[in-house]
Structures are given as structure tokens and as C-alpha cells.
């Protein structure tokens, strides 16, 4: 039977050979077991570099913005979350659907390398592979088996759309969402909401005090797709360059509000943050509020829908004049 990586390799090689696309974005391995960055494949022979493994979490879709001008058509492997990034770019008029061929990859959740490392303190890990719901961890003292569900990335534990919501071909059969994702989705938000106001403020100050202002959260985000971000403008300069907490809050609040109603919950911002700032708690809080104020809405499912924050309705709540 053909393995999952081989399936992706075959899809990519054929699309390139047949001239259907001139570039394929997928995932490849690097020096360490937990690395699976995006690969830019332009010749069929290199398609053999592609992999599907527990760590292919990186969202390849934003790279389309850098590359779609130089290619007639680009093939992109998309997990459920990645496919919603495609819809994001389509809805924001930053990408044309005919410029991409979407190879859908139903995804049963990606593994959190930090959780694996923590499970084997002091031991060297050389490889982690997944067989159905089991993780096989090769260590310097033998192979260990772990239940995959217990070592998922937080974002995958709450994923409602493990299957691509838009695609041209599917790599394999669709998977079922994990049981209980709806209950888990706002658990972290609720935990923050439960804090008293002062404690909550102190919590966020502590988190944002670590912000390096590296802009990884913005740069990785497909919803952050402005041609020129206001934070990159020299004149007027909206935030100073100094590591000043007020400016950091300014940046982080504007970032969160700018993706409000547009965030499709891929969680890449939180994954890439070098300072481990729990950005998904902010994004999800806004999603929860939007659901409560304007009705249930999920971004990135339909590029032609009417986003609640981009649509005026007479019955919309007008909270400001009540306080």
C-alpha cells in the first residue's frame, strides 16, 4: 500500500509533469524530527522530498502571495485550516482561484513536539511517526508508543474542519472531526474570562511584556494580507520601535481586531510566536464575542459569505451607547 507521503509525492510529480502547475507547495523534512517546513517544488524529481508526517503543521498558503505573480498556476497541499486560508485570500481579493490547484489533505491532527519532548525528559528522540491513532517515538533507548490524541497541538484539539473546505483533488478519504472539539474550542478563553479584571489585565501585561515585536504572528497570518501594513509605515509611524509595553499593546490589540471576524483559527500565530504568547486566546475571544453578538460565524468557509463585521444589519447590537 502506498504511504501518505508517497501519495503526496505522486500528486505533486504528476501535476508538475503534466504541466498543470509550475510549482507545488507542500512539506519536507529537515535536520530534526520535529521540523517539516514548507517546500517549494518546481521539478517532478524533487517531489520525492515531500512528506506527510505528524509535524506538517506549517500553513503553506500565505506563500502564494509572494509567488503567484511568477507562476501561471501553483499547486498547494492544504489541510482543513490551510484551505480556509485560501478562502481568506479569495475573499480579500488577494488571490484568484484559477491561479491555484488545491490538493486537499484530510488531516487527523498534528503533533506538538514540545509535548513529546516533555514526555521523555533526558532522552534523545530521533524520529516520530504516526500510525492511525498511535505515535511511534524512536528514542535512544528504544521505540515508545503514545496515543496521538494526547499529544496534539492545542489548535488541532479544537479543530472543527479537519477536511479541506475547498479543494480540487483529495489525497485520501475525509476524516471525522475529533469528538468533543466544540466543547474544547473556548475552554482557554473561558479560563481567561473567569479571571477578575485586574488579574486578567496583569495576565495580558505579563504575556505581552515578552513580545519581541518580531512580527512573526502577523507575517505568518493569511488574514494579515494588507499590501502595506500600517506597522511598516515610517510616516506616520503608528508604533515606536522601542520595546515599550504601551506600543506592544497597541500593536497586539490592533492585530487582533484587524483579524476579528476574519481569523480562521489555523493557530499559526501562536505556533510561531517565539515568546509563547497565547495569541489564540485573543483571537478566539473575538470569535466567541462575534458568535454571541452577531450569530454563529466561521471565517474562511465560504469566500462569498457576508462576514458579520463587514455587513451592517439593523438588528446588530450597538453596545457603545449602553454603557
Amino acid at each position: 500500500m502506498m504511504g501518505q507521503s508517497e501519495k503526496l509525492q505522486k500528486i505533486a510529480a504528476e501535476a508538475l509533469e503534466q504541466g498543470q502547475v509550475t510549482m507545488v507547495l507542500g512539506w519536507c523534512k529537515k535536520d530534526f524530527w520535529w521540523q517539516a517546513p514548507v517546500a517549494f517544488i518546481t521539478d517532478p524529481a524533487s517531489a520525492a522530498r515531500l512528506v506527510w508526517d505528524p509535524f506538517t503543521v506549517y500553513n503553506p498558503v500565505k506563500y502564494l502571495l509572494d509567488n503567484h505573480h511568477c507562476h501561471e498556476k501553483i499547486g498547494v497541499f492544504v489541510k482543513g485550516c490551510d484551505s480556509r486560508a485560501v478562502n481568506r485570500l479569495l475573499q480579500d481579493r488577494r488571490l484568484e482561484r484559477e491561479k491555484v490547484v488545491l490538493f486537499g489533505v484530510p488531516c487527523d491532527g498534528k503533533t506538538d513536539a514540545a509535548k513529546i519532548k516533555a514526555a521523555f525528559p533526558g532522552r534523545k528522540i530521533s524520529a516520530v511517526s504516526r500510525v492511525d491513532e498511535k505515535l511511534l517515538v524512536d528514542t535512544d533507548s528504544g521505540t515508545e508508543t503514545l496515543p496521538a490524541a494526547g499529544y496534539l497541538l492545542d489548535k488541532c484539539q479544537t479543530c472543527r474542519h479537519p477536511n479541506p473546505v475547498v479543494y480540487d483533488v483529495l489525497a485520501w478519504e475525509k476524516v471525522e472531526p475529533r469528538p468533543g472539539v466544540d466543547d474544547a474550542r473556548f475552554v482557554r478563553v473561558a479560563a481567561v474570562e473567569q479571571k477578575e479584571l485586574e488579574e486578567r489585565y496583569a495576565y495580558w501585561l505579563r504575556q505581552f511584556d515578552r513580545c519581541l515585536r518580531c512580527f512573526a504572528c502577523r507575517n505568518v497570518c493569511a488574514a494579515c494580507n494588507c499590501r502595506t501594513c500600517i506597522f511598516d509605515q515610517a510616516e506616520p509611524r503608528w508604533i515606536g520601535k522601542a520595546s515599550d509595553l504601551a506600543d506592544t499593546l497597541n500593536y497586539q490589540i490592533i492585530r487582533a481586531f484587524h483579524v476579528a471576524g476574519r481569523c480562521f483559527e489555523c493557530g499559526e500565530c501562536e505556533r510561531v510566536c517565539p515568546a509563547d504568547i497565547p495569541l489564540q486566546e485573543l483571537n478566539r475571544k473575538l470569535i466567541k464575542d462575534i458568535n454571541e453578538y452577531f450569530g454563529e460565524y466561521e471565517a474562511g468557509l465560504d469566500p462569498n459569505d457576508k462576514p458579520p463585521l463587514g455587513t451592517y444589519r439593523g438588528e446588530d447590537p450597538a453596545g457603545f451607547d449602553e454603557s
Binding site: R210, L212, D232, A234, A242, V272
Partner: protein, 339 residues
């Protein structure tokens, strides 16, 4: 040579903190950074590298260069002469300590940067040898010994239940003498334990790709197609530069309020488009390709051409933190530094 039981370290912190500002790797919300010690601080001497490198003690992320007021007359006040405070930096790893000498070459070279010089002189560095290097550590590429830190004032080694402290400079001797009350004399047995720990650490270090010859190889690689492929997945964030112990590029900015203000110096990143963007519109590094090339060329070619050593200490921070796994270890391996 002195020693202290690890169970009594809080007494050591307490004593040190009463003498000087004491900074240690301290965990907060699970993230370890060098922070000022206070009672109850969650000191983490197991964490190999803090999120931010210790360069911040000499070259802070933001510092005031000068203050000015211009209501009646223009008056400038130089802040460099007051920069820094006496402090002890406890727990800097050997790679981190090695990075200080690279920063010294930049900031203590003519013209001497007074703020940096003061901060450097006011700091006593107690290095902590590594017992268990991470898989991402490659200090061996730059001949840094994970158990030794020749540039530190004191070297601490974890021998199991105790920390053994060896003064390596006059400043270090002075500091240890202040701690006589809490430290014990170490024995020749302890000396052997230190050597043993150092040897074990070295043996545990993953095989490091050789960096020798890389500088020469890169001399002819500015126009190489290698860069065309390497940069593709870079998302142009500043992570690698901010967490790098040897990156030292800075910007200068004004922070005015009314008729007075401050001119500050802050970390900058060659990964950002505006780093070289000129007022007239020209940008000599117009795409991410040139910016990525600049970063690696600076570390592995320009800096060694200028100063005689590579501007990398193999701490592995960029390996662990780059959101897209684009790091200097990859470049060293790809270009296969041959001896």
C-alpha cells in the same frame, strides 16, 4: 575553588542580591528569561538557553542615548555616562559567554561605545557549564566547549548535588570572596567531578558540522543561486535576529514629548524591508533574498573578514525558534565547511 549544595542556592541568591543586582534564568508563564531575582523567583538552571540572549545586559533592546529639551535653548544631555548598574549575571551558558567577545569587537572597537563599555564593566558574569546539550546545540562548530567559559568571571559547574564555582578573573575572585559565608571550600575530588562533568558534556554534544573554510567558500558565493532557493520560505519576521546572541544591529529613534524628548537606540533587524530603505526610495536590498543573504553572509563571511571570527556561537536559538526552520545550522551544513 568553592562549592555550594544545590539545596542551599536560595541562600546564595539572597546573599548575592544583597550585594548587587542579581539576574538569573527565571521562568514566568513557562518562558525562561534572564530576570532580576527576588524571593520566590522560579529560578531555572536546567533550561539551556533563555528566550532572549544575555546581550541585553550590555546592549539593551531599548536604551536612551541622550535627552534633549528645546523650549528656550537646545540643551542636550548625554546618557551614556550613566548607563548600567552593577550586576551579577548568573547562569550564562558558555555559548552565550563566547558571544560577548564578538559584541566587544563591535562596541569596544574605535570609537568605543561608552554605554556598552560601562555596562560590560559593571557586570560580573557567572557562567554555568552545560551538562546536557540539546540536539540543536552546535557550539562545537565554533570550538566552544559546552563545559567551559573562558570569558566568564566565574565558572559554575553542576556536579550533581552541588555547584562548583571557579573564579576566572579578579572580578570573579572578588565576587566569590563576598560569598564566603555561604560557600564551602571545594576539594580535589570536586575538581575531578568538574572535569568529569565537562568531559561528559562534550561527549554528549551532537556531532557539529565544521565551520572551518566557510568564510573562504562564501567569498565567491554572493551571486550564487543557493540564495535564490534558501530565502523562499523566510516570512521576514525578526525572530532570528532578536534571539541571536551575536546580532547587534540597531536603529536610532526619537521619542519627543512636548518641548523635550529622548533619542533612543533599539535593536533592529536586517530581515525587515525598512532596514536599508532610503528616504529617496532606493533600497539596496529590495527583496527577502538579499536580506537573508545579508544575515548569513554577515555572520559567516563579513564579520570574520572584519574581526577574525565567525559571528555565531552555535547556541541553537534560531534552530529552535525560527517559525519556518530557516537557520544558520542549515547553511553551515549545506555549504559544508571543509577544513
Amino acid at each position: 575553588m568553592k562549592k555550594i549544595a544545590k539545596t542551599k542556592l536560595v541562600e546564595l541568591w539572597r546573599q548575592l542580591a544583597s550585594e548587587t543586582g542579581l539576574y538569573l534564568p527565571i521562568a514566568s508563564d513557562g518562558v525562561v528569561n534572564f530576570a532580576r531575582w527576588q524571593e520566590g523567583a522560579e529560578v531555572d538552571l536546567e533550561a539551556l538557553n533563555t528566550l532572549l540572549p544575555a546581550k541585553k545586559f550590555f546592549f539593551p533592546q531599548t536604551e536612551t542615548v541622550l535627552k534633549y529639551s528645546f523650549s528656550d535653548d537646545l540643551v542636550l544631555e548625554d546618557c551614556a555616562g550613566k548607563a548600567g548598574e552593577a550586576l551579577c549575571l548568573f547562569g550564562a551558558r558558555p555559548c552565550e559567554v563566547a558571544s560577548f567577545s564578538m559584541l566587544d569587537r563591535v562596541f569596544l572597537g574605535e570609537p568605543v561605545d561608552e554605554a556598552y563599555r560601562r555596562r560590560r564593566e559593571l557586570t560580573t558574569v557567572i557562567a554555568l557549564g552545560c551538562n546536557d546539550p540539546d540536539e540543536t546545540c552546535f557550539c562545537g562548530s565554533f570550538d566552544i566547549d559546552p563545559g567551559k567559559a573562558p570569558g566568564a568571571d566565574v565558572l559554575a559547574t553542576d556536579t550533581g548535588d552541588e555547584l562548583v564555582l571557579v573564579a576566572q578573573s579578579a572580578k570573579g575572585e572578588e565576587l566569590l570572596s563576598l560569598l564566603n559565608g555561604v560557600l564551602e571550600e571545594a576539594t580535589s575530588g570536586d575538581e575531578n567531578k568538574v572535569k568529569d562533568a565537562q568531559e561528559k558534556a562534550k561527549a554528549k554534544l551532537p556531532p557539529a558540522p565544521p565551520a572551518g573554510g566557510l568564510m573562504e567558500k562564501l567569498d565567491g558565493m554572493f551571486e550564487d543561486s543557493y540564495w535564490d532557493l534558501l530565502y523562499q520560505r523566510c516570512i521576514a519576521c525578526g525572530t532570528c535576529t532578536y534571539i541571536c546572541p551575536t546580532c547587534h544591529c540597531f536603529d536610532i529613534q526619537e521619542y519627543p514629548t512636548g518641548s523635550r524628548g529622548e533619542r533612543i537606540r533599539c535593536w533592529d533587524s536586517c530581515m525587515y524591508a525598512d532596514f536599508t530603505q532610503m528616504a529617496g526610495g532606493h533600497n539596496p536590498r529590495p527583496t527577502q533574498k538579499e536580506r537573508v543573504r545579508q544575515r548569513f553572509m554577515h555572520k559567516l563571511n563579513y564579520f570574520p573578514r572584519q574581526h577574525g571570527e565567525y559571528a555565531c556561537v552555535g547556541c541553537g536559538r534560531c534552530v529552535r525558534k525560527c517559525p519556518v526552520n530557516l537557520d544558520i545550522l542549515e547553511v553551515i551544513k549545506d555549504l559544508g565547511g571543509a577544513v
